[in-house]
Amino acid sequence: MTPSPIPRLEVKNITKRFPGVLANDNISLSILPGEIHALLGENGAGKTTLMNIVYGLVHRDSGEILINGMPVNIRSPREAIQHRVGMVHQHFMLVPTLTVAENVILGMRPFTHHLLDMREIEQDILKIAEKYGLQIKPSELISRLSVGEQQRVEIVKALYRGVDLLILDEPTAVLTPQETTELFKTIRSLTKQGLSIIFITHKLNEVMEVADRISVLRDGKLIATKSVQETDKDELAFLMVDRCISFTVEKPEMKRGEPVLVVKDLTVSDKFRTQVDHISFHVCSGEILGIAGVDGNGQNELALSLSGLLRPSSGKILLNGKDVTHESVRKLNRVGLGHIPADRQNLGLVMDFTVAENLILQRYYCSPFTTTLGFFDLAQIQENAQRLVREYDIRTRTTQTKLNHLSGGNQQKVILAREIDQKPKLLIAVQPTRGLDCGATEYIHQILVEQRNAGAAILLVSTELDEILALSDRICVMYEGKIMGELLNTGEDILRIGRLMAGVTDS
């Protein structure tokens, strides 16, 4: 590296406040040409906000941005692109109904240059993709591509715009370990051609593997910037989270009982494809079965069909020995199924209802909430809410507060309180801690283990391998709707699980 080159990007004293949150607090850092710079931090540490400011999607309250030493004022993505800054968002910015080529050139030609010669454009795209060793097919529809392929399209989209600085927001969240390795290769080849990469993540392993320098953010503040040689995982973990450094839950020996849930040859499919493909497994009382797998491999559909929200096309579901394959949601709930859904705001809660109302969402029609005359007993509803708010430490002003005034962690606690208070025999928990901060995550893990100890059967679906390893007694790995393998959790089979997640069977 040449002595003190001009940084490609420099941010100075950036501050950004959202209602109630100081998202970025006086952050300064610089990105050198050709470096891979990791931005490390927990959910909500302010990484994405900072990068959205650089990319012109969010406007800073104060501070300065310099590109190649020149102060710039980026007010929109268009201006960011003009300054040769590109960003691959965590949720891809691709239009599924358009082709790869159409997505790549979207916004590239002014409206005055009307005609689109798609063949010529596709040639250009192929040329760029080849230059960086990226395989894509320009005429294919986005909706037909795998997640990894879509990510490549996003990268080509940025390269086609001639960027010098590429921001990748949690790029590995949706990838298998193998795809991740592939991505890292690509990133390195990009930096060899002089690009700078900013890599947003919360995963320590990846940072150590790929980054040149690492900036750690916590609660909106920049804690430290280290080069990879002068630090290690323990130090980074310590910098990233100041409290729960050790990510383990106290778990007594499993007391496994009878099977509660038995799934036989279950298949779920829609018009287009088979999401769950002839799956069989069982969960016993007193154990946590973890379903691992990369997002979108049929775990959601599995959970939805088990809880009666999606009709299986074939197979059997037995709950406590009884066939419940085609039972209604309500019936399942009554015979002891609890469900913490992946999409809590859209499925588990009514955001403009009060805490009290959300806490009776399934049992509103039962005594004591509804009297024999058929009217609500408001006092009972209120009492129920107050008790659960107390027991589960739900932070809310009153029980009449609407759910959208609560933080994500407390919203999740409302669901947890409601489901667990019904004393479920089987609890399906899907991504129970996604997007939650450290404290709430710890609390929810604790409750799940308590339920297990009390004899409930727990089916935990998570894409976070750490979570699966920390909680599960047994682990099943799903890939493209199938269970690739099942193993007892000894905490030492990460490599094997990784292979299974990528669809590589044991041989």
Partner: protein
């Protein structure tokens, strides 16, 4: 002969519907559903009628109709896009306003003052040679200028939507506005543009009724055509050629209904009058799940 007259009437009756539905296709492709088309058509109709009555210029009447509808369309766009209001409510308000404003102006300027109120209308212009083609000639090429305009507008709007960078941006903004924003395209301006384009065409479709179809304004003369055009759009799978064919189908229903009324059949005229509405319901049932609607339809865009 009877058949030729019927088909010729079909084309004439289809024209206003196709105008309105082409505009709405653009609007919905951009992610905005405007159920206020009926109101905009009425605004266009009363404006054209008044303008032609006082100036005698049909061309000026058409331009005025489009501008007036665009003015109201702008108000709709402001609420639906900038304020991010619910598009259904906003459209419902627009219908009331359109019905009210057209009725008010008609009564104040014409009915109350007792002005004789027939205006001149767009003449049929037989195209040289083409109109002499047997069968097709009198059906397609002995029509008024707006019918020809629809013949031209249909391929042009289809081409722009599918083959140009503007069309690409419009198609993208109705599916994934955030993606459009992230590549630096102006989401709001694209949506405003499409709403205004749709409003102009709704104004034109409304203007057609008093100055090409009849020579009169009658309160509520659109009689649900705005809603029928609205139904045609999903029926056509959000495509321009589909909308053109759908327009002909409804045009046929209208033409048939008029023919049968004249024919003095034993069927009560009220039932004939409801024919287009029954057809709309039938179409709605038949067109279920044929194509996916634009993902961001009716979803206001929240930046950042």
């Amino acid at each position: 002969m009877e058949l030729i007259a019927l088909l010729s009437a079909t084309v004439r009756m289809a024209t206003p519907l196709i105008f309105v539905a082409i505009g709405e296709t653009y609007s919905e492709r951009a992610g905005v559903m405007n159920i206020g088309l009926e109101g905009l058509m009425l605004i266009g109709a009363i404006t054209a009628y008044t303008a032609v009555f006082f100036t005698g210029s049909l061309f000026f009447g058409l331009i005025a109709a489009m501008l007036a509808a665009m003015l109201f369309g702008f108000g709709f766009a402001y609420l639906a896009v900038t304020i991010k209001a619910n598009q259904i409510v906003t459209g419902a308000a627009l219908n009331m306003i359109g019905l009210g404003v057209s009725g008010f102006i008609y009564r104040v300027v014409f009915a109350n003052t007792g002005i004789v109120s027939a205006v001149k209308t767009l003449p049929a212009i037989p195209l040289p040679f083409l109109s002499e083609i047997p069968f097709a000639g009198p059906i397609l090429f002995n029509q008024n200028a707006l019918v020809y305009f629809v013949f031209i507008l249909t391929p042009i709007t289809a081409f722009v939507l599918n083959k140009t960078s503007l069309g690409l941006s419009i198609r993208a903004v109705g599916e994934h506005p955030r993606a459009v924003d992230s590549v630096g395209l102006p989401v709001f301006r694209l949506r405003y543009g499409c709403i205004l384009f749709a409003a102009a065409l709704a104004g034109l479709g409304g203007a057609y009724l008093p100055i090409a179809h009849a020579n009169q304004f009658v309160e509520g003369l659109t009689a649900g055509r705005g809603f029928i055009a609205l139904t045609m759009v999903p029926f056509a799978g959000w495509t321009i050629p589909g909308v053109f064919l759908g327009g002909l189908l409804f045009g046929a229903a209208y033409a048939l209904q008029l023919r049968l009324q004249v024919a003095q059949l034993a069927i009560a005229y009220q039932f004939l009058q409801t024919l287009p509405y029954l057809l709309t319901l039938a179409v709605l049932i038949l067109s279920r799940n044929r194509t996916e609607q634009p993902k961001a339809l009716c979803v206001p865009y929240e930046a950042g």
